[in-house]
């Protein structure tokens, strides 16, 4: 067998050790399932086997299914095929638990997805202190399809199981024991002995749900009003939390609801059928393609130029100790990098470090960090007002005020003290790298690293490659981001690069609709309904209403003859009315101290409501299409070199809904032909920003 081995002890106890060939973690792939089937055949033939131990030779137990294998089938996926994929692994686990012998899973490290499902199919679960267990499938638009939606509720109760299944969250060994998922916490060294002793005592081999008389309240379905009320509230909770664009959470709820009423094997079939429905749908495919496969590839260096030795940054300079600089300093320190944090005065630099100290305090409060560890981390950050301290830094991230003159001055100051190999990375969100590099004496070592705020939480970094940026600089910068465990996208230079350029079309479209007299609540609710974390007007208030206006005015003054984007007129009117955004007291929203923010009542006077309001679908379409079309223009114009960068950047950069797969993949989700038709219609009614590109039109033709 390739990915596991089976041994029988002197006492007859079988031990199945998962040990993936050519990988550091166990995953469920085709060969794994073949191996498991063979192992079960082998055990079944033994007359004298008192029980089975399942364990892992790796650092973790089993990390779930091989999604690459699954994704390979997406183009031809049907519900029936998805059902069969699920039934295969589900059938193997069912066979394991009905062998007629008791079994023990020893969980050391991560047992996730199919890993936990395998453990749940065992009669008993032992876990070491460092075990992490969970069914995170919902985060990928899927459901646990190897019995997870059936065994977990039968083991710990439907409500507790749904909390885990719907949140997709993992629990540590102690919490898992408290929930009843883990039977006992045992030190890794002792677990084999504990397991064997338990098996040799000949415990009953049946699972609770295979015993006669097993009948939880949920088996009676809606006969019990309290059960019905529970499901009713759970359905509302799903709608309230994830909205209506994601089919996975409600499918999980249905699996539990319907499955609990059925005999176990029928229940497993229902689970597989719901899995098949999810897997044939574009949403699950999109979420997996972008948030898992493309993200993993980016983390593994998909965009890294080859032929350059891998570099590790030992000492980092951060110039500008504002929230962004401080956040970058903090994540670098967390990654073990020594950081010199520079600002104009020592007090300002200190304040940046204090920001990280407060972050650490919050982590300690939540039990996610120890004081000792925090002290070590903070010890790596050296605040100073002396640029000379940067001399030994291998990479300097500049995070000063977004102003060309300030940036130019900083470049000169930094390059005056740093060595010829030091990489200068500007954390700019809009200023072209080429322009800034003119102030640099080493433009080949000059690059843009656009972190998102707050840097310690946002995982995306937009890497902007200037015309003169060398491959070596790009490779080293990506190595640095890899140290920080950030997901990079690599884009070419241009005004606003990719993310800042496209997100403008989200906020401008929102502002344009306000100007047309569309009710602001409809705009915000539409954005939320399609899955944006906040509406365009709320986002405008955060970034300030002045920002997009300034960006346009600057572009206009520097390049001339740029048509004013839709929505800018609305923003200028807001400025006239003294409504600049949240930081200056209020913009589209008011921010009372004693209750939640609400739309500013003055909006209805400033922008008269149109008597006829558009369909909800029209508003949704405008918000999505405006962005997707600009992303296409970025791709065709060479700002983006790959679709994956465009999709990752949109989902992780500004919260473009993951179910779409990203700003570019959304076009396939709609269907190219339909997208082009809709875009033409939108262009006819709302302007040329919706005009599909010639290449899109050609693609639609060939797709039709």
């Amino acid at each position: 067998m390739k990915h596991m081995h089976l041994q029988f002890g002197n006492d007859g106890v079988a031990t199945l050790t998962l040990d993936r060939d050519g990988g550091s973690v166990n995953i469920i792939c085709d060969d794994f399932m073949n191996d498991l089937g063979r192992a079960l055949d082998n055990i079944a033939q033994r007359q004298d086997c008192p029980g089975l131990v399942v364990r892992s030779a790796k650092a973790g137990f089993l990390a779930g299914a091989d999604l690459t294998m699954l994704a390979a089938e997406f183009p031809a996926m049907t519900a029936r095929r998805g059902y069969e994929i699920s039934q295969r692994i589900s059938g193997l686990l069912r066979r394991l638990e009905t062998l007629g012998i008791p079994s023990v899973a020893i969980v050391d490290g991560a047992a996730l997805g199919g890993g936990l499902e395998l453990a749940l199919a065992c009669t008993r679960r032992l876990a070491s202190e460092n075990a992490v267990l969970g069914l995170p499938e919902v985060n990928l638009g899927l459901l646990p399809a190897a019995g997870g939606t059936q065994r977990l509720p039968r083991l710990i109760g439907a409500k507790k199981a749904l909390d885990l299944l719907l949140a997709g969250k993992t629990v540590d060994a102690n919490n898992a024991a408290g929930l009843g998922i883990v039977d006992k916490i045992v030190a890794a060294d002792d677990s084999q002995g504990v397991a064997e002793r338990w098996l040799l005592a000949r415990p009953a081999p049946e699972q609770p749900w295979d015993r006669k008389g097993y009948r939880p309240p949920e088996a009676r379905g809606l006969v019990l009003p309290e059960v019905a009320l529970g499901y009713s509230l759970a359905a509302a909770g799903v709608a309230g939390k994830s909205g209506h664009r994601q089919p996975a959470p409600v499918a999980i709820l249905s699996c539990v609801f319907e499955g609990m009423q059925l005999p176990f094997d029928r229940a497993l079939q229902i689970e597989s059928k719901y899995f098949g429905r999810l897997l044939r749908g574009k949403v699950a495919q999109n979420i997996i393609a972008t948030t898992f496969l493309a993200r993993q590839a980016a983390l593994k260096g998909a965009r890294r130029p080859q032929g350059h030795e891998r570099r590790t940054i030992g000492r980092l300079g951060v110039v500008g100790a504002g929230m962004m600089g401080a956040g970058i300093a903090q994540i670098a320190a967390t990654a073990g990098i020594e950081v010199v944090l520079v600002d104009r005065t020592f007090a300002l630099a200190e304040r940046g470090k204090a920001y990280s100290a407060r972050s650490m305090d919050r982590l300690i409060e939540r039990g996610r960090m120890t004081r000792d560890k925090a002290d070590v981390l903070l010890g790596r950050i050296a605040p100073t007002d002396d640029f000379a301290q940067l001399s030994a830094c291998e990479l300097v991230v500049e995070a000063v005020f977004e102003d060309a003159a300030v940036k130019a001055d900083t470049i000169r100051k930094v390059e005056a003290v740093t060595g010829p190999d030091t990489i200068y990375a500007s954390n700019t969100s809009t200023l072209p790298i080429g322009g800034m590099a003119q102030s640099s004496i080493r433009p080949d070592r000059f690059i843009g690293l656009h972190f998102f705020s707050p840097a310690e939480r946002m995982e995306l970094v937009e890497v902007i490659r200037g015309v003169q940026t060398s491959d070596a600089t790009l490779a080293a910068s990506l190595d640095f981001l890899s140290q920080l465990r950030k997901t990079p996208i690599v884009v070419n230079d241009g005004r606003g690069f990719y993310t800042s350029r496209v997100v403008q079309f989200f906020i401008n479209e929102g502002a344009a609709m306000v100007g047309e007299g569309i009710a602001p609540a409809r705009i915000e609710n539409a954005a939320r309904s399609i899955g944006f974390p906040v509406g365009p007007l709320a986002l405008l208030d955060e970034v300030t209403i002045d920002l997009p206006v300034t960006i346009y005015d600057q572009a206009q003054s520097q390049e001339g003859d740029i048509a004013e984007p839709a929505g800018v007129a609305t923003l200028r009117r807001m400025q006239e009315l003294g409504r600049h955004g949240r930081s200056s007291g209020g913009g589209f929203y008011d921010y009372p101290e004693d209750r939640p923010k609400h739309l500013w009542h003055g909006l209805s006077q400033a922008f008269k409501l149109a008597g006829q309001q558009p369909d909800d679908a029209e508003i949704e379409r405008r918000l999505l299409y405006a962005q997707s079309l600009e992303a296409v223009r970025c791709r065709e114009g060479g700002i983006l070199e790959t679709d994956e960068d465009g999709d990752l950047g949109s989902v992780f950069g500004w919260g473009f809904p993951a179910w779409t797969g990203g700003a570019l993949r959304f076009i396939e989700t709609e269907g190219v032909a339909k997208f082009v038709d809709n875009a033409k219609e939108l262009a006819r009614r709302h302007g040329s920003r919706f005009e599909p590109t010639a290449r899109l039109v050609a693609r639609a033709k060939s797709a039709a």
Partner: protein, 401 residues
Amino acid sequence: MQDILIFDHARTPRGKGRPDGALHEIPAVQLMIQQLEAIRDRNSLDTALLDEVAIGIAQPVAEQGGVLPRAAVIGAGYDRSVAAIQLNRFCASGLDAINLVAGQIGAGMAKAGIGGGVESMSRVAFGTDTGAWTSDPRIAFGGYFAPQGIGADIIATIDGYSRADVDAYAAESQRRAARAWDEGRFAKSVVPVCDLLDEIILAHDEAIRPGTTREDLARLKPAFAGLADAGYGRIAQERYRQIEALEHVHTGGNSSGIVDGAATVLLGNAEFGARAGLKPRARIRSWASIGSEPTIMLTAPADVGCKALAIAGMEVTDIDLFELNEAFASMVLRFMNVMNVDHDRINVNGGAIAMGHPLGATGAMILGTALDELERSGKSTAMVLLCAANGLGSATIIERI
């Protein structure tokens, strides 16, 4: 089509639907048996002349299940040839039971029957019947299910009814109901309920609170804010995008009360009237049912009213009197606004906000209330309407003879 005639109506007083309510010790089937006995005895009715007893029950399970009306027919000692059926269209059930019998008579398939409703909310609690529409995740999620109270608050939010507006309506309902009782306007129909000692256990509407003021009502807490936080608020916004935040104006004081009760209406054709020696009091002009948007749930009345009017060939102005079940204040205010009906033409003797809403029984009760009021005031036509769960609604137009 045969003329569909109404000969009589009876109802129980409404008892508080709680363990300390007067009717809590009376099983639902006994409420109905006493009603069937009363309508038989006060009309000296030979029950063998009846073809059907159709009873609406909104929680048709447990003691209210098993075709309760047949058990009641037998329990009341009716002729065993009388057929019985229970039906459910949620809150409109009682009116639909009448409409069902009316249809049989109109089509010539029956000569006479009783339509009515019963609900012991204190004994078979709201929600006991469960159902896919609220609780099967695929259906509830896919159908944007939200409880009625959320729908009532959606109406208030999008139509702009303030807390003061709905409380004012509720206070007026209480005032009108109290006046109606003071003036004996329900005397013709209310049949006291007796206990096992054959003593009267309830003779008046128990939930009514005479003297309730707007100030009293203003002190009550919003009833449905918690449900919005449970996810229904977002569901409401998904369906009604103009809502920035739900205004939670409905309370226990401006929503219908939870009560126990039963009601019956005796229907027949002219031939039945002659054989039974009974004089018809009214005729049914038309009836209708519709479905409407289910999340807001409570806006069917205007549309179903228009449908019933069109069937009867009538205009809104042809209706002298409206009885619209007061499920929540906002849905009545919306009906008045949409249909351009003044408050002095609708629910003139109060409604369910004051006296309570015994789900399946209410439709039959308010049809009787309308009939009594037409006779008292000398008016001619009345329309009876109810909104029902999941967006349903029914209406019936009657004309005094």
